[in-house]
């Protein structure tokens, strides 16, 4: 296997019908509520995101993120309460350190920064949630399908 096949040149091998798959870990109290609000407000955003509800961004084990990439997610989004808003007082602060390190680490080994993203979305930020998803999808689309760290490709969309 030539290693170079894993190197990506954006847009080169883009099939026209390819749609990225994004996994989003959302904390129950803010970001998941924000995503609900986007729904209630009927704010449209791309259908590429698969939301996993977790109690707190502090619950997100780094391996959840890596496993998502292994399973062929083209992008991963983790979203929690804004600093100070955490339903569990400080879970998001603990998570923030963890994510800072993880993100740098993944980037350092060559995972494109846009593949793994983080946001704070509050329960009243339906629009922000939609915008975040839109941005992530757009940026991941520009990158093309994930190849690095991928073990198996997720079901075709």
């Amino acid at each position: 296997m030539s290693k170079n096949s894993e190197l990506q040149t954006p847009n080169s091998k883009l099939q026209t019908d390819w749609e990225p798959k994004i996994v989003a870990f959302l904390c129950n109290w803010c970001s998941y509520a924000g995503a609900d609000l986007a729904g209630i407000s009927r704010i449209q955003y791309p259908p590429n995101v698969r939301i996993i509800r977790i109690p707190c961004s502090g619950r997100v084990h780094p391996l959840f993120i890596m496993r998502s990439l292994q399973n062929g997610a083209d992008g991963v989004l983790v979203s929690g309460c804004h600093p100070g808003d955490c339903h569990y007082i400080s879970g998001n602060y603990i998570a923030r350190r963890r994510f800072a390190i993880l993100k740098n680490l993944l980037e350092y080994v060559g995972i494109e920064p846009e593949r793994v993203q983080f946001s704070w979305v509050s329960a009243s930020e339906g629009e922000k949630f939609a915008k975040v998803v839109e941005d992530v999808v757009e940026q991941v689309k520009a990158l093309g399908p994930a190849k690095r760290l991928v073990k198996r490709k997720a079901d075709p969309h």
Partner: protein, 1002 residues
């Protein structure tokens, strides 16, 4: 009904569904009372639901409020009655009969699923009151997206009766024929929590509100800032939708203003203006906010820090009174004329003007109160007394929140809990008489069974079905392994589907249920209850959100939405395979309380608990009860403090349920909520106390000044010493010619950056007292900011009227005090004249601040609770949990929390008692099933989990060298699990394996 006269009713009416009413309801319902929560509008939530952020933490208002809304809406013992008003209340304390009137909402709230299709098709627009009329909604509406109850209403003034909504509603919830309904309920007590109305800014014609589109009120601006507001969180001005670069906030609009009759200070406007200015700037960096103010009243906990930060980084503060606002015809910008501190007149142009409007009681509640025989004060707020801040003049009717006086959210929440405690004192004999408990059949043991999953895919009318091919999703689901049964329903949440689910569980021996419909945040408890009724453990349930997060947000991509729905259900099924029944453990509760500190707060909390029938240990470090109160003699409005103190000490001493330990200290605290064991040493003897809750009421101390020659010259004394002298009729003091008082001694400085809150009031109090006894005395008060918030403003005004002279100084230009030849010499720079003035007082009085108890650190460590930077105890959440610690079962009140006035301490003490009684009211406490669990084979006892746990729910088993979860304290957030390198901690119900299964089923 033929009740006997002395029979009390174990139910409570709470009037007003804002945060105060919600808190009071939750406390009461949790401590064994049936609650009727009545609100005039179509949903509960009040003003707090409208706020964008809250100061001083900039917490998202909705994020912290909405869990309380949901809890309230779902509580078995809270009956929420919206769109309902109180018509009359008859009877006496303990036994009232209440007449309620429910307005027709033209929608059957039991049927309405809140799906919102009707509003989508309603052809009539109406202005959206939730957004302060800055945007439009339909004539059929809900208050706001997170509204509780989530049921629509029809605005009949706007409705044209076209029938479209009725046709579109698939559950037949629309009922045009509804009429006003009267209802009678019996309650033992009433809590009034009607909140406030904003001052009508039209009345200040000089500011142009109503005439100029770019003059908005602060609450309107709050909506403008909100992400769910009229401009979706973009900071725009109404006239043209431009970003307003320069924003002026005008303070005290309708407050501290004799011209409109509102002499009082509204207490919160300074802070909310800073918050709005900061948030606006956070949104758009280019925005330059200016706040025009008289005194910046940042008197609350951590407020001054917030103010300082805003001043340094974000906001321009202008001390000056705005006289007029004029619109510039071309730009619709606004020209502001204002007078500076030094009387200089200025003009400046702004793009947007925000009027910081004050609080007023609503005319409706004033009328009702008068009808009910409840006295109001001169401004129409509910009249209360210093020592009974939550009692109205009618026994059995209590009050909390802004109706009692303008106040912020935490004070409201404290009063709400405080009022609940007073109600519980009154009704403790009938606690639990009207509350219900749900009875379920025994649980089916599914352990060892392979998963048999039933899946219900919801059309939600056309909400999901109109976009997603629901039958196709159900068809797909049937192909997934372990799925035994799948079907699709018009409304999975409807009553008949609930019955069907129960039958199908039996018919197919289903042992896991997946519902693909809307948000688990709103509907999970409903379905969990249903499967529980069918004998399944409530945790054998999983939801896929294919509406809020699929059909509604991909309305134009039906195929992709269908595909996504399939995948979401597939993921839910994968997780469902791994679901395990979880137990909600029940822990016994030692129904006794420990109150640490025998001052005003501690005694108040202890007697409230005792009144409710709970045994209390009251531990005081000194020989005598009373604390700081021993040094205070009279209140601002002249009430006798020592008399009151004597009374409460007698009450405490006489109450057989209160065990008082004086000359005592805490040696060790072990255990946790419901089951504490505390060792104290009282009078040299060690004693072990068992109790279920702890209330920390350790108070604070007066700052010991070193500045201004204190201790070096007998003529320099503190306010407390002055009060002592006045009380003892010290003639030397009373006959002084010239008295100078210096404010903020030891407060608002580098070392103690916080405001001590009480000093301004104390100073005015003593100054007035001297003036009263010796009208010839010349009194100079050197201040930085006079913070006589609320009705205390009246006394400040009075002080000026009687000739007390207030001279302001800046932090960096403090007065200089020296020993002159004959007298003391005080040199201060007068800002209006811009000159230095030399005063030669006979007496120099220092208004010293409050400092935390020096041994707070020690006790905090024993209790494992945090202190803030200033050394005061830090509550779980500044806004909504002001008396709770993050660690369950430990509560907080009085000066230990932060400096505060007597009535505030009393409210907070009652609040602590109320929060404590929610635990003590039951002999067992149920523990959430989704909590952390330790695999001892894997754990290395490294302690990282202990360090990340915000609830002290983890501890080290010293013998086994492994972490141990305290199930009573764990909240299941999972920070520990994600931190654990060894994979030794997991969270039941959201386990690592379960989450990975979701990721694997991607």
């Amino acid at each position: 009904m033929g009740r006997e006269n002395d029979q009390k009713v174990g139910a409570v009416l709470v009037v007003g569904g804002g945060i105060g009413g919600i808190q009071a309801s939750l406390d009461l319902a949790e401590s064994g009372f049936k609650v009727y929560l009545v609100d005039m509008s179509t949903s509960i939530g009040g003003v707090m639901a409208q706020l964008d952020k809250t100061f001083p933490t900039n917490d998202c208002s909705m994020c912290i409020l909405s869990p309380k809304l949901v809890e309230c809406g779902r509580h078995l013992n809270i009956e929420v009655k919206t769109y309902t008003q109180v018509k009359d209340i008859q009877g006496n304390a303990g036994d009232f009969r209440v007449n309620l009137v429910r307005k027709p909402r033209y929608i059957n709230p039991q049927k309405c699923t809140g799906c919102g299709q009707c509003a989508k098709y309603c052809p009539v627009g109406a202005s959206d009151t939730f957004n302060e009329n800055l945007s439009e909604r339909a004539a059929i509406y809900i208050g706001y997206p997170q509204a509780v109850p989530l049921a629509y209403a029809i605005d009949r003034d706007k409705c044209i009766g076209c029938g479209l909504c009725s046709n579109i509603c698939l559950v037949d919830a629309v009922q045009y024929s509804q009429e006003e309904q009267e209802e009678v309920i019996d309650v033992g007590a009433v809590i009034l929590a009607p909140g406030f109305e904003e001052f009508d800014a039209h009345l200040k014609g000089e500011y142009g509100y109503g005439r100029y589109p770019n003059v908005v009120t602060s609450i309107e601006f709050e909506r403008i800032l909100s992400a769910s507001g009229p401009y979706r969180g973009r900071v725009l001005r109404p006239s043209d939708g431009d970003i307003p670069q320069k924003i002026a906030f005008i303070q005290c609009v309708g407050s501290r203003d004799e011209t409109c009759g509102n002499n009082y200070c509204s207490s919160v406007c300074c802070m909310y203006a800073i918050k709005e200015a900061v948030v606006a700037k956070e949104h758009v960096r280019e925005i330059q906010p200016s706040i025009f103010f008289m005194d910046l009243r940042a008197y609350g906990k951590d407020f001054d820090k917030y103010y300082q930060r805003a001043k340094e980084e974000w906001v321009r503060f202008v001390r000056g009174r705005v006289s007029s606002v004029e619109e510039m015809p071309q730009t619709q910008n606004l020209k502001i004329k204002y007078e500076m501190d030094d009387s200089k007149l200025m003009e400046e142009e702004f793009n947007l003007v925000v009027l910081s409007v004050g609080f007023e009681p609503s005319p409706g509640i004033q009328t009702l109160a008068q009808k009910l025989g409840i006295e109001l004060n001169e401004y129409g707020f509910c009249k209360t007394y210093q020592f009974s801040p939550v009692e109205t003049t009618r026994p059995g009717v209590f009050v909390c929140g802004a109706f009692q006086g303008p106040k912020d959210i935490p004070e409201t929440v404290m009063q709400a809990s405080g009022a609940a405690s007073c109600v519980a004192d009154l009704l403790s004999s009938v606690r639990g008489s009207l509350t219900r408990e749900r009875i379920f059949p025994p649980e089916i043991d599914v352990r060892g069974q392979s998963p048999r999953i039933g899946v219900f895919v919801c059309h939600c009318g056309i909400n999901i079905g109109g976009v997603v091919n629901v039958p196709e999703v159900a068809e797909y689901v049937r192909t997934l392994s372990n799925v035994v049964y799948a079907e699709h329903n018009l409304y999975t949440c409807s009553q008949d589907t609930q019955l069907r689910i129960k039958e199908l569980i039996k018919e197919h021996n289903l042992n896991r249920i997946v519902v693909a419909s809307c948000s688990p945040r709103t509907h999970e408890p409903l379905f969990q209850e249903t499967i529980r009724e069918a004998g399944l453990n409530r945790y054998l349930f999983e939801m896929a959100n294919i509406r809020d997060q699929c059909s509604w947000v991909h309305m134009h991509e039906p195929e992709k939405a269908t595909q996504k729905s399939k995948e979401l259900v597939r993921m839910a099924v994968a997780k469902a395979c791994l679901l395990q029944p979880l137990k909600r453990l029940e822990l016994p509760v030692t129904r006794r309380g420990l109150v640490i500190g025998g001052g005003l707060s501690g005694m108040t909390a202890a007697s409230s608990l005792a009144e409710q029938g709970f045994e209390v240990y009251l531990v005081e470090r000194e020989r005598e009860l009373g604390g700081n109160l021993k040094k205070i003699h009279y209140t601002l409005n002249g009430m006798d403090v020592q008399g009151y103190l004597k009374g409460i000490i007698e009450r405490v001493r006489a109450n057989p349920l209160i065990n008082v330990y004086t000359n005592a200290r805490i040696k060790e605290v072990a255990g946790y909520v419901g089951n504490f064991k505390t060792t104290i040493i009282a009078d040299g003897a060690e004693r072990e106390l068992e109790h279920g809750v702890v209330i920390v009421a350790t108070g604070g101390r007066e700052y010991q000044p070193e500045e201004y020659l204190y201790g070096k010259d007998a003529k320099v004394i503190t306010q407390r010493e002055l009060e002592e002298k006045i009380a003892h009729g010290d003639n030397a003091v009373l006959n002084s010619n010239t008295i100078v008082m210096i404010q903020c001694v030891g407060s608002r400085e580098n070392e103690r950056p916080y405001c001590s809150r009480i000093c301004c009031t104390e100073t005015v109090k003593n100054a007035l007292k001297i003036k009263e006894k010796n009208p010839k005395a010349n009194i100079f008060i050197l201040y930085r900011e006079v913070r006589t918030y609320g009705f205390r403003e009246d006394y400040y005004r009075k002080a000026r009227e009687v000739g007390i002279i207030f001279i302001r100084f800046d932090e960096d230009k403090k007065p200089k005090v020296a020993k002159g030849k004959k007298a003391l010499e005080v040199l201060v720079r007068e800002p209006i004249l811009g000159e230095e003035i030399l005063l030669r007082p006979d007496l120099l009085v220092l208004s010293v601040g409050i400092v935390p108890q020096p041994d707070n650190k020690k006790l905090a460590k024993m209790l494992k609770v945090p202190l803030n930077e200033d050394g005061f105890y830090l509550e779980a959440q500044m806004k909504l949990r002001p008396v709770d610690f993050a660690t369950e079962g430990i509560f907080l009140c009085g000066l230990a929390h932060s400096p505060k006035l007597m009535d505030e301490s009393i409210s907070q003490a009652y609040a602590a008692a109320s929060r404590a009684s929610t635990i003590l009211a039951k002999d067992k406490m149920e523990i959430e099933g989704m909590i952390a669990t330790v695999n001892e084979f894997r754990c290395t006892g490294c302690g990282m989990c202990i360090s990340v746990c915000a609830y002290n729910a983890l501890e080290l088993d010293e013998e086994k060298k492994v972490a141990r979860v305290n199930e009573a304290l764990c909240k299941g957030c999972g920070a520990c699990s994600a931190t654990c390198r060894c994979g030794a901690i997991d969270v039941l119900g959201v386990s690592n394996e379960q989450i990975l299964s979701l990721v694997d089923a991607l």
